[in-house]
């Protein structure tokens, strides 16, 4: 493999060093190739997770009915006669959540766009360390393989929910998935955390140290700011999850009692005394809550970029946007307890977490209003990327508002762990982030592959996905307000939930249509990679630096010197300019105000 530091290759564009197929496509140090690797892996993982969700949605809508679909994927062991096994149901929700949160929306979203955009948008030849960057992908890949392999062990994969609370996750006596499946889950997460830390450190260092001349922090595109803060959050919080995972491994294998105490299970009193399951929750959510913003911030950053470009209007309140990213990032570290109001935590501590949590609504509101104002009197071009960005703002509003309900501990008593929560986080974090990811893919596809994706298919994909997203997750609020708990295999055991059966059918129908709509995307994506029309250098007439690089990828990104930056990236429709955009590389004219 080419251990040559590719970061310097571009200094001399006459120097063509031949690369082997392996060093170009497999163990590549080039950030653009690594970003594609992340994206393709994430797309594959997302498909797995979507299929899982269809299987358990079928069970929820038609409990006890057999489906060939279920049997096809799960076989006779877990899907006899097409009926989903209750343990496998829990395993599917667990792995669906794990894959979506970590592998798609963390690894996939940050991995793809941080890698692609950081060097291109700050004006660097490559990441600070191409080698660590490569390792970051391959740890991610290994971690994905381990996670998928856990689907095939005897007792089934981890089934204690994606939050893997002990004792359920610690004791195989309590659920079969807590045997080998849980061990693999922990191994996979350890690899994932290593990957995420290597990536994160690289992102932080590159943004801080490798900006081109003139690229002050206050001239960074908002995508960069969002990814920067995301990386800082990840570097600070993922180690805590790693420590929780290590302690859990000790409890599971070496008989320690960090999280276990006074347990009588399977007819036997265990030796563990003195531990606290609540300690695990504190450690888990100390990562878990920042994780929400690790997922969301890059999507918001991408959206800021795309909305401004396609509204042909500067993003409204650039500094306020940076300020709100910083505020959200800071606050995200002191709100984790709102996941634990009902664990027996001191009610006063609960009050503190109510306060800090509701504060997050302020920077979030600022962001929403700034997006809306950016659209006002804009000149909006509806590219598929723009549609997904507007979609993100809509889901961010809907999901953010229900967050205000959930943050209120007194209200949380009755909706905690119900479908209301499922609705809330799928809309605000799942849909918003995935919309941001789609927006990013449509927008930067020409940069990644030098080809254009089909716009019409993009429209069909967006509108179907948008309608189905609300069709699936909006009715879930009502299921939750009827008191229906999440992670129930079926609701037929309770007469009081008979009223929500038809809602569950409605949700499942939308979920299936929404899932199928993704086939359009997959087709469009892969078709365009090979057969799409060739892209021009700056198809969206955008200001940011990445569009000054040639369409054909080359190591070092720019054939000559790295361009110098003279202005912020949002000079759209600036008065006195001939074009409605002014790239960052254009010097400020005499008498021109910066912005």
């Amino acid at each position: 493999m080419g251990a040559v530091n590719t970061a310097h290759a571009g200094h001399d564009h006459h120097h063509h060093h031949e690369e082997s197929w392996v060093s170009k496509y497999i163990f590549s140090h080039d950030h653009k190739m690594i970003s594609k690797q992340f994206l393709i892996t994430a797309i594959f993982m997302a498909c797995v997770a979507v299929i899982m969700s269809i299987i358990f949605r079928l069970q929820l809508a038609y409990p006890g009915e057999g489906f060939a679909f279920t049997n096809f994927f799960l076989g006779d062991k877990w899907g006899k006669d097409g009926i989903l096994d209750p343990n496998m149901y829990l395993a599917l929700v667990t792995i669906h959540g794990t894959i979506m949160v970590f592998f798609v929306l963390t690894g996939g979203l940050s991995g793809t766009f941080a890698n692609l955009l950081i060097p291109l948008q700050v004006g660097a030849r490559d990441m600070a360390s191409g080698f660590i960057n490569m390792l970051s992908y391959w740890f991610f890949f290994l971690s994905s393989v381990v996670m998928l392999s856990s689907l095939f062990v005897e007792g089934g994969p981890a089934s204690a929910g994606w939050t893997v609370y002990p004792p359920l996750s610690a004791l195989p006596q309590s659920i079969p998935g807590s045997g080998a499946g849980m061990t693999l889950w922990l191994v996979s997460m350890a690899l994932f955390i290593a990957s995420s830390l290597m990536g994160g450190l690289n992102y932080v260092v590159t943004i801080l140290n490798l900006r081109t001349k003139g690229m002050r922090m206050t001239r960074l595109p908002l995508t960069m700011w969002a990814i920067f803060i995301t990386a800082v959050l990840g570097v600070l919080s993922f180690p805590v999850l790693l420590s929780a995972a290590l302690l859990l491994i000790l409890d599971r294998s070496l008989g320690t009692s960090f999280f276990l105490s006074d347990i009588h299970i399977a007819g036997e009193a265990l030796d563990h005394v003195g531990g606290s399951p609540i300690l695990f929750q504190h450690l888990f959510w100390f990562l878990g809550h920042p994780e929400v913003y690790i997922v969301l911030l890059p999507a918001l950053g991408i959206t800021s970029e795309i909305i401004s470009t396609n509204a042909r209007k500067p993003i409204f309140g650039y500094r306020a946007m940076i300020g709100s990213i910083l505020a959200i990032g800071f606050l995200s570290f002191i709100v984790w307890g709102h996941h634990m109001f009902l664990t027996g935590m001191n009610p006063f501590l609960g009050s503190v977490f109510v306060f800090t949590t509701l504060l997050i609504a302020i920077p979030s509101a600022v962001k929403v209003f700034n997006y809306i104002t950016t659209l006002w009197k804009g000149n909006i071009i509806f590219t598929p990327a723009m549609l997904f960005s507007i979609g993100l703002v809509a889901t961010f509003i809907a999901g953010g508002l229900t967050g205000i309900i959930l943050a209120d501990s007194a209200l949380d008593i009755n909706i905690h762990d119900t479908y209301f929560v499922v609705a809330h986080f799928h809309i605000v974090m799942g849909m918003s982030a995935i919309f941001g990811m789609f927006a990013g893919i449509y927008h930067w596809f020409p940069k990644m592959y030098g080809k254009m994706m089909n716009t019409k298919l993009g429209y069909a994909h967006f509108w179907l996905t948008f309608v189905c997203a609300f069709g699936v997750f909006f009715p879930m609020h009502f299921v939750g307000l009827a008191g229906a708990p999440r992670r129930y295999y079926q609701y037929t055991e309770f007469p009081m939930f008979n009223g929500v059966t038809d809602l569950n059918v409605l949700i499942t129908v939308f979920a299936i249509i929404g899932g199928l709509a993704q086939v359009i995307f997959i087709y469009n994506f892969f078709y365009s990679v090979y057969r799409g029309p060739k892209a021009v250098q700056n198809p969206w007439r955008s200001n940011t630096l990445e569009w000054t690089t040639p369409v054909e990828h080359l190591h070092g990104n720019w054939p000559g010197a790295i361009p110098e930056v003279h202005r912020w990236p949002y000079d759209y429709s600036k008065p006195g300019k001939a074009e409605d955009f002014v790239p960052q590389t254009v010097p400020i004219e005499a008498g021109e105000e910066e912005h």
């Binding site: 109510v354 509701l358 700034n370 071009i381 703002v393 007194a410 209200l411 019409k456 009502f478 198809p539």
Partner: protein
């Protein structure tokens, strides 16, 4: 066959869409249009769809509100539930206003300011007054929400009054057990090592300690005998397992003996105030009854994994965490009978259900809660048998015999 057909239809559908897109692509090429150029008609179509979506979105929302209003939880059957329902309503009114305003603005602007090559977007990088406005207004509203919410939260979580009745709700995979303190009004102490079929909650009494020690001794004997007889033919793994089990039984027994000493000392020292002196008359039942309009302090415990005691109709919920006791205080205000009338459903029951993933049968871990007038409740309670008969003179003798037999490996 049906599946095959569906798959076929889907595949054909995707292919048709793809082909259609190809045709567009080719004709666009002929006209010299590039993929990134969005035509005016495409822009207008999407702009209109934005408006249409907004209408459909609100329509769907209102339809759900109207259609499913009666499927939501009915009026709260507890005192604090009325407060939280009010709090929820106030929150909803505020959020609905914000929801409609922001969405209308978003979708209206998106559709209204569609691209026009003869027009330029407004140059407006920032406006400090506006930004200050929408920082301060949400802040003020949120402070209101926080103060109101925390007031209610503090009222709900404030300590129970001294004359509140106490009931324990005990969780295990996958059922609930209730415990009432019995005639003395005090819950007996518990220890998870004493759990067996007769003592599902591990209540500490001299008799339950004696029985448990006997049981463990017998189990140990049986395993040792099995090992002695079959050591040659036993698979090594099974042998190791048996030996480990014997060790665990010895450790457990040692702990129980230590517990017995503690119990005896505590009873000797504190007499009637010792928590160990109140176990026998506790009432352990698989039914859950509460009197109406009486403050109840629920003690919530778990034997194995985390569960959550959730009574939706009473707006009550608290996790059951192994190794600790959590509490929830409430005052039931509607009887099961009245609720049946309200709901017009003679089979209606208040349900205590598990709301924290706990294993395969999580979805069916439930117990009915009967809220009834105080006299009916008292009648029901009087019919329940205490956990153990009052201590007979025989009990201490049983204790001493086991003491000699017990395999003592105390450290």
């Amino acid at each position: 066959m049906m599946t095959l057909l569906i798959v076929l239809v889907v595949v054909l559908g995707v292919m048709a869409v793809a082909q259609l897109a190809r045709v567009y692509e080719l004709t666009a090429k002929l006209r010299g249009k590039r993929e990134e150029d969005i035509t005016d008609s495409d822009n207008r179509m999407n702009a209109r769809l934005m408006w249409l979506f907004c209408v459909a979105y609100f329509g769907f929302f209102i339809w759900l509100l109207v259609r499913y209003n009666d499927r939501m939880l009915p009026v709260s059957a507890s005192e604090h539930g009325v407060w939280t329902d009010q709090l929820l309503d106030v929150n909803w009114y505020i959020l609905f206003i914000v929801f409609f305003i922001t969405n209308i603005l978003l979708f209206y602007f998106a559709g209204r300011y569609v691209y026009d090559r003869n027009r330029r977007a407004l140059w407006q990088p920032h406006n400090n007054k506006l930004e200050l406005l929408w920082t301060i207004v949400p802040a003020v509203v949120l402070i209101g929400i926080i103060i109101y919410g925390l007031t209610i939260w503090n009222r709900i979580t404030s300590p129970a009054s001294p004359d509140a009745m106490v009931v324990e709700v005990y969780a295990k995979q996958f059922d609930w057990t209730a415990r009432y303190p019995g005639a003395d009004g005090i819950m007996g102490a518990t220890d998870y090592r004493l759990i067996n079929d007769q003592n599902p909650l591990g209540i500490v009494t001299p008799a339950s300690i004696a029985t448990r020690l006997d049981e463990l001794a017998a189990e140990r004997e049986a395993i040792l005998k099995d090992i002695a007889q079959n050591e040659q033919v036993m698979p090594p793994a099974k042998l190791a397992e048996s030996r480990k089990r014997v060790e665990r039984i010895e450790r457990t027994s040692a702990r129980i003996i230590r517990l017995r000493t503690e119990m005896e000392q505590d009873i000797a020292m504190n007499k009637e105030t010792s928590p160990y002196a109140h176990g026998e008359d506790d009432i352990v039942v698989k039914e859950f009854h509460l009197p109406i309009r009486k403050e109840v302090k629920m003690l919530i415990r778990s034997r194995d994994v985390i569960h959550s005691a959730y009574i939706p109709h009473l707006r009550a919920q608290m996790n059951a965490v192994p190794g600790m006791t959590t509490t929830f205080n409430m005052v039931p205000t509607i009887t099961t009978d009245s609720m049946r009338t309200v709901m017009n459903d003679p089979a209606f029951e208040f349900i205590l259900l598990c709301n924290k993933i706990c294993g395969a049968s999580h979805y069916n871990m439930q117990m009915a809660l009967v809220v009834e007038p105080e006299n009916a409740y008292n009648d029901w309670l009087a019919q329940q048998k205490p956990f153990q008969a009052a201590p007979e003179p025989a009990a201490p003798s049983a204790m001493t015999t086991t003491a000699t037999e017990a395999p003592v490996t105390t450290n």
